[in-house]
Symmetry: C2
Subunit: 358 residues, 2 copies
């Protein structure tokens, strides 16, 4: 039997609850497809800070690197919000992404027919939306140097960061995006601010140059401010979007909210080789942590992405996705996606229902 | 009688049509309040490029600086989209903002009761939205140095920009925002990415420190990715938003689209002293230019902001705003805001109807 080592990083807040459920679903889906999954759990984020003094212990990074794929719950919480930068849970996450070299972050935002009413957009606008945001994840202003605090000519304090992209960083994320678009509806929209920023001018130039390698794909370009508008005006115009780290952070969250059900949305972060990182896009929701109220479906769907993009186990991935659809069709809903006429369940019970249909 | 010199910059595309209409409305509203307005028209943007070879001729900047306020139509168009950076219409606009030192960009996004159906958001979500985005306009990554193209250690081309803020730049925009919030509903939300960027950490620190000077104002902080979501999820939670140049570019456009009627939205850019710059937020719409189809109301409302924030002529400003409301109540609509049961009119006719009610 094929066997893989999976590192679980439950993290903070609702992370442990949703990861526990997703782990069971992963195991079963794998077993049914002849795949053995071995799990090890490591500390990450605020819980790692509390236990070890750092948000990403060396041992965690080493274990993640040595495994075949990493499933993360969520990190952060009010408790650590005012920590110094190197002691923030978020800094641990950024180091993990960099340490695993997962430069391509895939964030699907699809409106499920069962949940179209959850969107704040009018039904006719939301219905059928199916977007994939491909976000560059290990470059740009998140990692660019120089960065820090300084003093300007007037003796005043300054804070500064560098948005920088090298040609090869743009090329590799663009290639991923073209490939993703090819497996979808063949339309790629590259988002930048090339009317103002040199980093975006290079971005647009490189993406444009690559288009000839992907003759079947219809490439367009859009300024980021316009993209933020068009996602609200007519989200159905988008198939695949590719953009830099910071614009991707903003636009993927906007796109996810357009679906109205961010408790449902997974993400995959992959590199050229080595393990990928899979995580729900929602946060750690400290206010409902430990109350069995969290929606585990985003993490369960992240587990499906782990099987597909991380291990190449398409059949097991499909099994999980079909089980989620079936569970929704049966009317089970956690509080965040509940509507009258459906059956309100907690995190564990939702997991059990998915397990039954896997 | 009080008298003022106004520089008109019609610009490109539909700019000249909408500015012509707004000029007449300005004149009349001024005259009725005992204010004499003298106009001079100058070249700017693509039309300046075609006529003089540069997007912001020295003469235009000098005239703008010498006047009491500047009204801009719109700039840009496909024709100049692939120009080199220093020959882009947008570069002219950035130089104009810098040259006038208008560091505070006020962008209202309010859903008008008459136009609530124009929003793609559900009626109960859109109804009553009334947001003011205060965007820092002459700093940050738009102007930060170093910027340009370079070569990295591997001999690869790079493109880079610098996001940088000095303490005083943050303080002055924050003060404007606190003042704006005070005249509104007393709530200010500062948007940043302080979990990742040092420039944002300084931003948050300075804004927080200033709060004690404005005891009546309720200050909150939000990460930019969350703000992009919350604008879709529940835009009514926002009163005044203050943010940096690039986040403001993105979020103000998103907020404007939430109203569903960007053909209605004005903006004001003001500095510590000297003339302010007033412009509709819509673009030059080259596809409908010269066809008398454009909606002049955004420019007319920009003229009202010019009277209020640029000249301190509150009565004349109110006159224009009341006239726009009345004209909408009478059912007149340009194509962009038309709905069955209303009266479709062109740009000029809309202007005439507003003039009748001024
Ligand atoms: C937590 C934060 C550092 C992170 C980011 O900005 O990348 C998050 O917003 C995300 O999108 O995964
Ligand atoms: C045209 C462009 C340079 C400009 C900007 O990015 O500031 C525009 O998008 C705006 O918001 O006024």
């Amino acid at each position: 039997a094929r066997s893989y080592n999976i590192t679980l990083l439950p993290g903070d807040g609702i992370g442990p609850e949703v990861v526990a459920v997703a782990k069971d679903v992963l195991s079963l889906a794998g077993a049914l497809e002849g795949v053995e999954l071995r799990f090890q759990e490591k500390l990450m984020g605020g819980s790692a800070l509390d236990a070890t003094g750092v948000p990403l212990p060396d041992e965690t990074l080493a274990a993640a690197r040595d495994s075949d794929a990493v499933l993360l719950g969520a990190i952060g919480g009010y408790k650590w919000d005012n920590n110094e930068k190197h002691l923030k849970p978020e800094t641990g996450l950024l180091h993990l992404r960099a340490g695993l070299r997962v430069f391509a972050n895939l964030r699907p935002a699809a409106v499920l027919p069962q949940l179209v009413d959850a969107s704040t957009l009018k039904k006719e606008v939301a219905e059928g939306v199916d977007i994939m945001v491909v976000r560059e994840l290990t470059g740009g202003i998140y990692f660019g140097k120089p960065r820090g605090f300084g003093t300007n000519g007037n003796g005043e304090e300054t804070g500064f960061n560098t948005e920088v992209y090298a040609a090869s960083e743009i090329d590799r994320i663009a290639r991923v995006a073209f490939e993703v678009a090819r497996k979808r509806r063949g339309k790629l929209c590259s988002v930048d601010k090339a009317n103002v920023l040199e980093a975006s001018m290079l971005w647009r130039r490189r993406v444009t140059a690559l288009a000839s390698e992907f003759p079947g794909i219809e490439l367009s370009h859009m300024y980021v401010d316009n993209a933020a508008m068009q996602l609200v005006r007519n989200p159905k115009q988008f198939d695949t979007i590719v953009t830099n780290n910071i614009f991707g952070d903003i636009l993927s969250d906007e796109a996810s909210m357009i679906t109205g059900s961010i408790g449902m949305l997974p993400s995959a972060s992959v590199g050229e080789s080595g393990p990928g990182l899979f995580e729900p896009i929602h946060g750690s929701a400290p206010d409902i942590a430990g109350q069995d109220k969290a929606n585990p479906l985003a993490t369960i769907l992240s587990a499906a992405m782990l099987l597909r993009y991380g291990l190449g186990e398409e059949n097991a991935a499909k099994r999980i996705e079909a089980a989620v659809t079936e569970t929704l069709n049966q009317g089970f809903r956690t509080g965040d996606i509940y509507s009258p006429g459906t059956t309100l369940v907690g995190c564990k019970r939702m997991g059990e229902e998915v397990l039954k249909t896997v």
